[in-house]
C-alpha cells in the first residue's frame, strides 16, 4: 500500500492561553487514512493535548464536523489522499464558539431547535413498505439529519447574524410540516414565517453543498417558502 507523509496545519487554541495559532504536524498516511484518523495519530504520537470531537467514524453520528482545506466536512469520511494536497488545513467549524482546538460548543445549535417551542427534532421515521416482518407495525429508520452543524458553519447568513434560525432547524421544521404525524404544523409555519426564519435565506445553497447526510436543508427551506407563499396567496384571494 502506498504511504506518504502529509502535513496537517491544525488550528490550535487553549482557553486562557496564547492567541489561536496554526500548528503543523507531519503524519504518515496511507490510502485508507482519513483526516480524523490522522488527527488521532497526531494526538497519540505527537501531541496528546490536541482535541477534537468524534464518535462513530462512519458519518452516522455527526460529531466530527470540521473544516478541511476550507470546506465543511466530516473528518471521518474524508480520505487524506483524495484531497490531493501536500498540506491539509484543519480548522473548527465557523459560526460557533470554539471551546478549544477543533472542538466547538454545540449549545447554540440545539438552542435554535428549542426556540421553536414544540418537538422539532425527529429521531425516527416510518418507512412505507408493504411486506413488514411479523410482529412489527412498520419498518422505521432514524432521520437523515445527524445534527453535525456543517450547514450552519457553511451558511453565509449565519456568519453575520446568529439570530437566524439557520438551515438545520428550518430543515427539521419542514420535516414536521411535510409529515405532521398528528402534530399541528401551523404554529411551526408561523414560527418560520419571520424575518429570522425561512425568508432570511439568500439562496447561497452552501448548506446543500455541506450536508453529508442527504438532508439538503436548502431545498427544505425553499419548500417552506413555497408552502408559505401558497398560504399567503390563498389568504390574499380569500382562501
Amino acid at each position: 500500500m502506498v504511504e506518504r507523509d502529509i502535513d496537517f496545519k491544525v488550528f490550535r487554541y487553549k482557553q486562557g492561553g496564547a492567541a489561536p495559532a496554526y500548528q503543523t504536524f507531519r503524519v504518515r498516511c496511507d490510502e485508507n487514512t482519513t483526516v480524523l484518523v490522522a488527527l488521532q495519530d497526531i494526538r497519540r504520537d505527537q501531541d496528546g493535548t490536541l482535541i477534537m470531537r468524534h464518535s462513530c467514524h462512519h458519518a452516522s453520528c455527526g460529531t466530527c464536523g470540521m473544516r478541511i482545506n476550507g470546506r465543511e466536512e466530516l473528518g471521518c469520511v474524508v480520505k487524506v489522499f483524495d484531497l490531493n494536497t501536500s498540506t491539509v488545513v484543519v480548522e473548527p467549524m465557523r459560526n460557533m464558539p470554539v471551546i478549544s482546538d477543533l472542538v466547538v460548543d454545540m449549545g447554540p445549535f440545539y438552542d435554535r431547535f428549542n426556540s421553536a417551542g414544540m418537538p422539532l427534532m425527529r429521531e425516527s421515521e416510518f418507512l412505507d413498505e408493504a411486506d413488514v416482518a411479523e410482529g412489527l407495525e412498520a419498518y422505521m429508520r432514524c432521520e437523515n439529519c445527524i445534527e453535525c452543524n456543517l450547514c450552519v458553519s457553511a451558511c453565509p447568513i449565519m456568519g453575520t447574524d446568529p439570530t437566524y434560525l439557520g438551515p438545520a432547524a428550518l430543515a427539521a421544521a419542514w420535516r414536521v410540516v411535510e409529515e405532521p404525524r398528528g402534530l399541528d404544523a401551523k404554529p411551526l409555519l408561523d414560527w418560520v414565517d419571520s424575518q429570522n426564519g425561512c425568508w432570511r435565506c439568500h439562496v447561497a445553497y452552501e448548506c446543500n453543498e455541506a450536508c453529508p447526510s442527504g438532508v439538503f436543508p436548502g431545498d427544505k427551506i425553499m419548500s417552506l417558502r413555497r408552502e408559505l407563499t401558497k398560504r399567503k396567496f390563498r389568504r390574499l384571494f380569500g382562501r
Binding site: 464518535s55 453520528c61 440545539y110 413488514v132 416482518a133 412489527l136 419498518y139 429508520r141
Partner: protein, 386 residues
C-alpha cells in the same frame, strides 16, 4: 457530611450509565473523559441492539443479559432505535442443521424467535442472498450508537452529575492503601487540578487496563478490535446475521441511509493504535456479499476499527474465544481501597453493567439505595446541550 462523591473515569456508554445510576441513588457524581463523550468504542460499534441470539448457543450468560437489557432499553430510551428486528439466515446445509440448536438455545435464554421460510425471508428482505434456505427472526434492533448513550449523560447531567469531557486522568493520589483523589488535565485549557472523591470508578473500556496500571492493579482486559465497513443505501431494514457460530463479516446492520457490515476480530496491546487492515475490509465485502449480494456493488462510505473491551487472560489471540459478558472488579482484592473497575460487556448491556457497578459501590460505601434505572425513562439526547 454530604452525599458520597463518586468519580467516574471514562465517558463511554458504561460511564454514562454508571453516572446515571449513581445520581439516581443520590450520590454526587463527577465523570471525566479524555476526549469527546462516546469517542472510544461506544460510538463506533455497528449499532446493534443485541437480542442475545448471537450468543445463545455458546455464551448463555451474555445472551440472557442481552435480551433482558434489550427489553429494558426499548422501554427507557424510546426513539433511539430502529426497531425492525433481526434475521439470522442459513445459507449452507450445515447452517440449516445448526438452526434447530440455535432456536432451542434462544428459547432457553428467553429470546423470542420465529422461523421463516425461504419465501418469507425474501418477501420481507428482497435484497438477501436468494440462496438462503431459511431465516430466524429475533428482536434485534439498530441503535443510534452515539445518541442512545448520550441520553444517559443528558439525564445524569440534569439530575446533578458533573460531566467533564476533554479531561484526562494523569495521576492517582493515594492515602494509605486508598485512592483519595485523581489528578486530571483539562485539555481545553491545559490546566491540571485534583478531583477528590470517596470512590473512583474505572469505566475506561478498552483503556481500563491502562487506567488500572496507573493505580498498580491488573485489569485483565484485552482490547480486541474489529473492522467495520459502511456502504451507502439501506440494503435491508432488518438486521441481517449469518446463522452460524460467530465469525467474520457475518452481520449487516442498516442504519439511517447506510448499511454497516461487521466485523472481524483480533487482539492488540494499545487501544489507541488499532490500524485498519485492508484485507479485513475486503473480508467484509466478501462475507457481507454472501448475506446480501448488493454489498459488492454498493458505494463505499467508510471503513473503521473499534476496540472491544474483552475480559480475558493474556495470550488470547483473536478475541473470538472470549466471553462478551462484563465484570465489575473491586480492587480491594489487590489491597487498593476506593477503586473499582467495570469492564467487558457491550453497548446493549450498558445499563446492566451500571447497575452491577452501582451495587458494588453502594455495598462498599454502606449505602442502601435500590437501583432505579430499569424504569426511569431517559431524557432526549438534546437535553445534554441545554
Amino acid at each position: 457530611m454530604g452525599p458520597f462523591h463518586a468519580v467516574i473515569i471514562g465517558g463511554g456508554g458504561t460511564g454514562a450509565a454508571v453516572a446515571h445510576d449513581l445520581t439516581l441513588r443520590g450520590m454526587k457524581v463527577t465523570l471525566i473523559e479524555r476526549g469527546e463523550l462516546t469517542s472510544g468504542t461506544t460510538g463506533r460499534h455497528h449499532g446493534l441492539l443485541h437480542s442475545g441470539a448471537r450468543y445463545a448457543v455458546k455464551d448463555k450468560e451474555s445472551a440472557v443479559e442481552c435480551i433482558e437489557e434489550n427489553t429494558i432499553l426499548r422501554r427507557i430510551a424510546p426513539g433511539s432505535f430502529e426497531l425492525n428486528d433481526g434475521l439470522f439466515v442459513a445459507i449452507t446445509d450445515e447452517e440449516v442443521a445448526y438452526s434447530s440448536e440455535f432456536i432451542e438455545s434462544c428459547q432457553e435464554c428467553g429470546i423470542p424467535v420465529r422461523r421463516l421460510t425461504h419465501t418469507e425471508v425474501l418477501a420481507r428482505e428482497p435484497n438477501v442472498n436468494p440462496a438462503i434456505k431459511l431465516g430466524v427472526q429475533v428482536p434485534d434492533a439498530t441503535m443510534d450508537a452515539m445518541r442512545m448513550p448520550l441520553r444517559f449523560f443528558a439525564t445524569a447531567k440534569h439530575n446533578g452529575a458533573t460531566i467533564k469531557p476533554y479531561t484526562e486522568v494523569v495521576d492517582f493520589v493515594r492515602r494509605g492503601n486508598a485512592v483519595s483523589a485523581i489528578r486530571v488535565r483539562d485539555h481545553t485549557s491545559n490546566k491540571e487540578y485534583e478531583i477528590g472523591g470517596d470512590i473512583f470508578i474505572n469505566a475506561g473500556g478498552a483503556w481500563s487496563g491502562r487506567i488500572g496500571a496507573m493505580v498498580g492493579v491488573d485489569v485483565p482486559i484485552r482490547p480486541s478490535p474489529g473492522v467495520m465497513l459502511a456502504v451507502y443505501g439501506r440494503l435491508s431494514n432488518m438486521v441481517i446475521n449469518r446463522l452460524h457460530a460467530s465469525g467474520d463479516g457475518d452481520i449487516i446492520v442498516p442504519q439511517r441511509a447506510l448499511s454497516v457490515i461487521g466485523t472481524s476480530s483480533w487482539v492488540v496491546e494499545d487501544p489507541d493504535n488499532l490500524g485498519l487492515p485492508e484485507d479485513h475490509i475486503q473480508m467484509m465485502i466478501h462475507f457481507g456479499s454472501e448475506l446480501i449480494p448488493a454489498v459488492r456493488t454498493a458505494k463505499f462510505r467508510a471503513a473503521w476499527s473499534a476496540a472491544r473491551p474483552l475480559i480475558g487472560p493474556r495470550g488470547a489471540d483473536t478475541g473470538r474465544e472470549l466471553s462478551r459478558t462484563f465484570k465489575c472488579f473491586d480492587h480491594i482484592d489487590e489491597n487498593v481501597e476506593g477503586f473499582v473497575t467495570i469492564t467487558g460487556g457491550k453497548a446493549t448491556t450498558l445499563r446492566g453493567m451500571a447497575e452491577t457497578t452501582a451495587n458494588v459501590v453502594c455495598a462498599k460505601l454502606g449505602l442502601a439505595k435500590p437501583c432505579q434505572t430499569r424504569e426511569f425513562v431517559l431524557l432526549p439526547h438534546t437535553a445534554y446541550y441545554v
